[in-house]
């Protein structure tokens, strides 16, 4: 594991992922898990400019090393029971910490993934006039680390409708 240079920089949006060189070497693991492969694939596609349009937010340490990435874009969610649809709410497509910093502890006792997700929520607040709307993500049932992360940041869980499927993790508006 590499050492993190603290303090971490505030999470920021990268406007031109294809020109953000640290993305080329980003990997959150050797790809043992499907969700890690997904994040790696998203990073590669963004760097090669083959990804669909999405916002890339990055967490870097004090030395500028890329610690983690998160991507999201606005997406609709339809609700039954005569409720209004949730329109254009941020859907988190990928979130991951580079394998070099997996398991790292921050000086304040936190984890890099927490700093990343908290920073992403701040970015989203900035895009929505200071208050986050609903935010959601899909998380594989077996991805315990992912579920624990979303638990710690106020995301509730909508059960997967098929065994072993992906659950929706959704955070109510601020």
């Amino acid at each position: 594991m590499s050492e993190l240079a603290e303090p971490l920089r505030p999470v920021r949006v990268v406007r031109q992922p294809g020109r953000y060189a640290p993305l080329a070497g980003f990997s959150c693991g050797a790809g043992e898990e499907s969700w890690d492969r997904h994040v790696n694939r998203v990073a590669q596609r963004l760097y090669s400019e083959q990804a669909i349009p999405q916002t890339l937010a990055v967490l870097e340490d004090d030395g500028g090393e890329l610690v983690g990435i998160c991507t999201f874009w606005p997406r609709d969610l339809l609700l039954p029971l005569r409720r209004e649809p949730l329109l254009e709410i941020p859907y988190i497509n990928a979130i991951g910490i580079d394998r070099r910093f997996r398991g790292a502890a921050l000086r304040d006792g936190g984890r890099p993934a927490d700093a990343l997700l908290a920073g992403v929520l701040d970015v989203i607040r900035g895009m929505h006039g200071g208050a986050a709307p609903h935010v959601y993500a899909l998380v594989a049932s077996a991805n315990e680390r992912g579920h624990a992360l979303f638990d710690r940041h106020g995301f509730g869980e909508l059960s997967a409708t098929k065994p072993g499927g992906e659950a929706i993790r959704i955070r109510p508006p601020d």
């Binding site: 499907s34 969700w35 997904h38 998203v42 669909i52 349009p53 874009w73 997406r75 609709d76 969610l77 339809l78 609700l79 039954p80 029971l81 409720r83 859907y91 497509n93 990928a94 899909l138 594989a140 106020g154 509730g156 869980e157 909508l158 059960s159 997967a160 409708t161 098929k162 499927g165 992906e166 929706i168 959704i170 109510p172």
Partner: protein, 71 residues
Amino acid sequence: MASMSMHETSEQPEAPRPRRVITTSEASLERLEAEPDTVVRLSIAQSEQLRRIEADAREAARALAASRAED
């Protein structure tokens, strides 16, 4: 008098393409990325879960505000 080209006379505004709606059991990380315009529809049970999540969050915010007011 100016004449109109064939292109100009046949041009029609494009109708918005209807978006595909899928259930959450059909949704996956890969599919949502491959089909960014696809819309996910929650089940009735999931919608009820969301209602409870929202109510819990409101209650927690109220409790936090009350404890701050006491301080």
